[in-house]
Amino acid sequence: MNLVLDGALALLVLLAAARATLARQPLPAVVAFIGYGLALGVAWVRLGAPDVAMTEVAVGGGVTGLVLLRAVSAAAAGAEAAATPVRRVAALALSLVVFAALAGVVVGLPEPAPSLAEAVATHLPPTGLGNPITGVLIVFRALDTLLETVVLLLALIGVWSLSPDRSWAGALAGLDAPPSGALDFLARVIAPVGLVVGIYMFWAGADVPGGAFQGGAVLAAMGLLVIAAGIRPPPRLQCRSLRLMLLAGPFAFLGVGVAGWFVAGAFLDYPAGIEKPVIIAVEVAITLSIAVTLALLVLGPPKERAP
């Protein structure tokens, strides 16, 4: 029975991916991509990785899908060059080669597959965390997470640099939603609930599936909903507190890392005894930064000159 369900799920993922890559118009392709993200999230749950599933649905399906939808609606219709058959065949061949290589590696793993799970389980209790994923993200592979937060910041600067010079640090365009009673009602009712859910997802990520990225994505979505409904205008880019919130994550993490050199002996090493408070502080900073960065990524480059 499980095999039938898993097979149906795998088929759904493949069909959504096929629709996303083969659709003629960009809008059905993006909608199929969002559906693909959702189906892939369910597949991650079936593989026993709820943290990854939440991140896939929130960031891969939700935020990325929203960015693509805005790009599709902003791009001129029919102005793009269609891919030539040669390019299509080359892309298909390359994808098949990568798929074959990955399948070969996964299927050819020795039994039992090499895994660091035992090492993580042994070293998790001193950190005070209950969720091994959060342990890996914030403690054992903290350098990777630090670099991820910096990459997000660089991506945002990249998006801002798409604006013409005279609009640098100018006013952001809103989300162009026509005034609607239903949207206003939805934003006013769901935004507080989403705020609690996002903070809970980050807070509970210490012990159960969850974490800073998932919580930050939900918080970003609530902010965007409020902006879309017109309840609040988009943030002003010259606002100092906005810029501080953007920088808080990477620089708090970096500061803790450098302090670890002097206090605990190695870069990004946490001082013995106060690991959990330091971890929570770092996670608060990166959740805040991720939420603001993702929301600003969706809002796009500034359009008008600064007032």
């Binding site: 026509p178 609607s180 009673g181 239903a182 009602f185 939805l186 009712v189 769901i190 609930v193």
Partner: protein, 99 residues
């Protein structure tokens, strides 16, 4: 007793799935944006309600059952508002198309 509970779950979740299929058929076969939206919104809401009711006896604890109901409530809110929004867009496009 547990057999009855499982039969209840199977029956209600099955009925919920039937409603989802009905909504899908409506989406594919109905002629107009607004009628399709109506079919989808009504069928999906009832289908989800039936699925949640069917899963309630399977919940591990009262808190889990409460979470299922909360998920249902949030989805009702969101899908209702989204259906309204899509209907507004469809009505506006129909009016602009007619002018």
């Amino acid at each position: 007793m547990t057999l009855l509970v499982h039969m209840f779950t199977l029956a209600t979740v099955g009925a919920g799935l039937l409603f989802f299929v009905a909504g899908l058929v409506g989406l594919l076969r109905l002629p107009d944006d607004l009628t399709r939206l109506h079919a989808l919104a009504k069928a999906d809401n009832v289908g989800l309600a039936l699925i949640v009711v069917g899963l309630l006896p399977q919940a591990a604890s009262l808190l889990d059952a409460g979470k299922l109901v909360a998920v249902w409530a949030l989805l009702q809110l969101a899908s209702g508002a989204v259906a309204q929004l899509m209907a507004e867009v469809a009505a506006r496009e129909a009016k602009e198309g007619g002018e």
